[in-house]
Amino acid sequence: MSLVPEPHLSPVEQTSAPARNLPPRRLRLANPSLVIGSILVFFILGVTLLAPYISPYGPNQVNYSAVLQAPSAHHWFGTDQLGRDQLARILFGARTSMEVSVGSLVVGAGIGVPVGLIAGYYRGFLDTWIIMRIIDAIQAFPFLILALVLAAMLGPGSRNAMIAIGIGLVPTFARTARAQMLQELGKDYIDAARVAGCTHARIIFRHILPNALTPIIVQATLAMASSIVAEASLEYLGLGVQPPTASWGSMLQSAQGYLQLAPWLVVFPGLALVLSVVSFNLLGDGIQRWLNRKIS
């Protein structure tokens, strides 16, 4: 048992001299991850939706008189080996990335959440020996290896990439949903629903699911970041959407052949990729922190 009145303060803080480098009070009080993450995610979603209107050129507009041009006023991010504008391809690449990542989340959550809820609700043999052990087996595959193998078996293309990445996300959603179900099961409103004669399906999906949604949304935000990286990795290996569709991973793959001549080709798609992953990671962390603060 703790003898200190403020258990969250470590002795290091109590004994050390007042910190001089503390960030401004406003920064400490607010949730910077949530604020910055939300702004960045809105920016990325805006770019994704408005790509056809804000893009200076078409993503597949070939111009042989402007091949491998360095960044300039005409082509802010330069041009590739076919003279295609890199900015346009990055903007449209955002669409591909978001489309496949959101699709993967739908597959992952669409399978994982009901499976986790059912496992948590019924528990017993079905939960312990069947469902959770299948989830363990899926989780034993390194995420990218599973996506790679499934994409290889199903064939290239955005739909198959969504399925391949989505299956890898099933364990994350199933575990979160199951944990939430176990937390909710003991509450009075479940007994009330049972007494009112609700079916099991109604109790699970109409009563418990809405109460379990918030942590699932946090997981979805963090999973979005992993999906973006997995999608880019599959594209890099040539197993995602097929050329000439613009995608960040395939842009990086073809840029690797021009490192000497056009180094900017690897910089900008990579920065776009990092920016979107950072955004979703920050947003996920921010929501998580906000929830923790709310609970405590």
Binding site: S2, L3, P7, H8, L9, S10, P11, V12, E13, A19, N21, L22, P23, R28, S33, D127, T128, W129, I130, M132, R133, D136, A137, Q139, A140, F141, P142, F143, L144, I145, L146, L148, V149, L150, A152, M153, L154, G155, A225, V229, A232, S233, Y236, L237, L239, L252, A255, Q256, L259, Q260, P263, V266, V267, G270, L273, V274, V277, V278, N281, L282
Partner: protein, 318 residues
Amino acid sequence: MRYVIQRLITTIPVLFFLSIMVFSFIHLIPGNPAEILLGQDATPQAVHALDAQMGLNRPLLMQYLGWLSNLLRGNLGTSLVDHESVSQLILQRLPVTVELAVGTMVVAILIAFPLGIAAAVMRGRVSEFVAMFAATIGISVPPFWLGILFLLLFTVKFHLVTNSLYVPIWQSPLKNLECMLLPCIATGIREAAVLLRMLRSSLTDALGEDFVRTAWAKGLRGSAVTLRHALPNALVPVLTASGLQIAGLLGGLVITEQVFSLPGFGQLLVQSVFSRDYTTVQGTALVAALIVIIVNLLIDLMYSRIDPRIRTDGGMEA
């Protein structure tokens, strides 16, 4: 002992479902795998012969039992392209991947430990914000992009790394270091970021414990309290969590090997995917999953030795 037995028993169904999944991979291929392998011009006789070679003309249950029986004898089948044993192919490539994995973890530990300890000790200061911001960026940067940037900077621009072809460590340790250093750092930065976050959180908790207060009360120096008392306790949860990191690490290595043209396990997988060598794809996926299961099992068992609370809690975790 009860915990160890329970943990081993729960692994059996996982292995069973894993075997079903790996076996099913080949059946996910739309159409007949033999026809896809041989192409549109293949004669029905050739397709039939390949079907027989792959065992695809037998009932599904018999196919599974045959495959499982071979598997239990360590036979992962024969490569459809090289006509070599898949187990042999994997064994030839595995040392490169193991070396890369070990190098990656060394880089990760060298970065994560000083920064993680600093972030936990200097909570609320700018240095903590800087460390945690660096961790967020580190987690978000895909290792393969970092690898390409390293190639651009160190090989193309500054010519610091002149040999990028893989040389085994026993042939020339220096040349081996030259070709492995960049891939290890490229993958290690992400792993360091994950480790840093875990270590900072776990060490922050440990620093708030009563035994740390006792250490302060005894008049020990700050470094002794942190490194000798809090850190060993903070490492226990980090050890378990790093087991889960193995899966992510193996996945990351596949693509790093591709970027740096390292002849490892990941490159074998990617090559067999593109040459439609389905038996090798099956074999490599299975071995990757088995590595993850075995590493996690060993860490769990080790964890139960280190932390007696795990042994006494009992009960099966779902």
